[in-house]
């Protein structure tokens, strides 16, 4: 089959099918590794369970993957053999404070085309990690669910976002509110009291 056709075909394959295609023959194992996976509307990575994470990519869900260091290289190797590129509409992150997890996520998504990066952030540490990931994607858009209220300076230093939601029972000054409104496209303050 023509090469252009095969590359087009590979953009329609789900992750599960790419895994199977790797096993068909050498030529297709190489084709899988060297072809673009196409566009996935959404992806989600979360670490609800300690030392484990869940990854959702398109229609595929992978639950309870361990963060163990010894397996990370194997996982990254597999990702590199599964596609040469991938485009993701919105990638949502909900990862804990573990820096190993952050390093893995950065390696996992490095050089990928991501439209929107969405973060759920519960602590200063997670905020730092999120900003680190954002810095890898300067051309993407961002959304953030902030579950605590950082200090004013910190709040104002956040990069412009498509949507910033602050979910905490706290108070902010009207001055800060107006400045945030000016920086971010959409601002959801939930139960936050403006005074």
């Amino acid at each position: 089959l023509p090469d252009v056709f095969l590359r087009k075909l590979m953009r329609n394959m789900e992750v599960k099918d790419r895994l199977s295609l790797r096993l068909t023959c050498r030529a297709f194992e190489n084709l899988v590794a060297n072809s673009h996976a196409g566009h996935f509307e959404g992806a989600f990575i979360s670490s609800f369970t300690p030392d484990k994470f869940n990854l959702v990519l398109g229609n595929e869900s992978f639950y309870g993957i361990e963060w163990s260091n010894e397996d990370l290289e194997l996982r990254l190797h597999l990702m590199n053999r599964l596609f040469s590129g991938i485009s993701i509409g919105e990638f949502d992150f909900n990862i804990d404070d573990d820096f190993t997890a952050v390093c893995f996520v950065r390696d996992l998504i490095s050089s990928r085309l991501i439209g929107i990066l969405g973060f759920r952030v519960d602590s200063e540490c997670q905020l730092n990690n999120s900003l680190l990931i954002m810095s890898d994607f300067p051309n993407s858009s961002y959304t953030m669910d902030l579950c605590f209220l950082p200090e004013t300076e910190r709040c104002l230093s956040l990069p412009p976002m498509e949507e910033l939601c602050i979910f905490t029972r706290s108070k902010i000054s009207s001055e800060l509110f107006i400045k945030l409104l000016d920086i971010h496209k959409n601002l959801d303050l939930g139960d936050l009291i403006v005074h």
Partner: protein, 172 residues
Amino acid sequence: RIYPLMRVTLTTSDGASVTVSRQLTKHSGFIEKAITDMAVDDNAVPLSAVAVDVDDATLKLVIEWLTEHRDDALPYPEKTDEERRADDIPAWDQAFVQKWDTKEDQQQTLYAVITAADKLDIKGLLDMTCKTLANKINGKTVEEMREILQLECDFTEEELAEIRKENAWCEN
């Protein structure tokens, strides 16, 4: 500028000749370029028949598809990265492909049409056949994929075991 009433003769790889309306050939980048290259005046009339590297039986199928799609908009809209779906094949096209399924050599026919669409640079047909094959492969086992794609496994048992081991964390 396209002259829909103008007719173009195509000669196939197995020596047959087919004359078709320019209204159909305008969807083929290859034939359009050949016509333009051979044209002697503003009417864009080719000096001779256009030779296509496609056999007569396959060309007839391509012409059948082009006839149905003669009024499709041109240029063919390039798919954006956002369009991943393969379940939007028009009903006529589905029936067109289903027709081959009654033949013993259905896979060969599909591959012949895919190759012809590529050689003749017919983007819509290439797109449709790509989705058709994607739908045939999606969710199939490795063995079924080999059968559909007519592949011979050239891995050793050790190599297969290694790939299965790599795949394992995703498959579980």
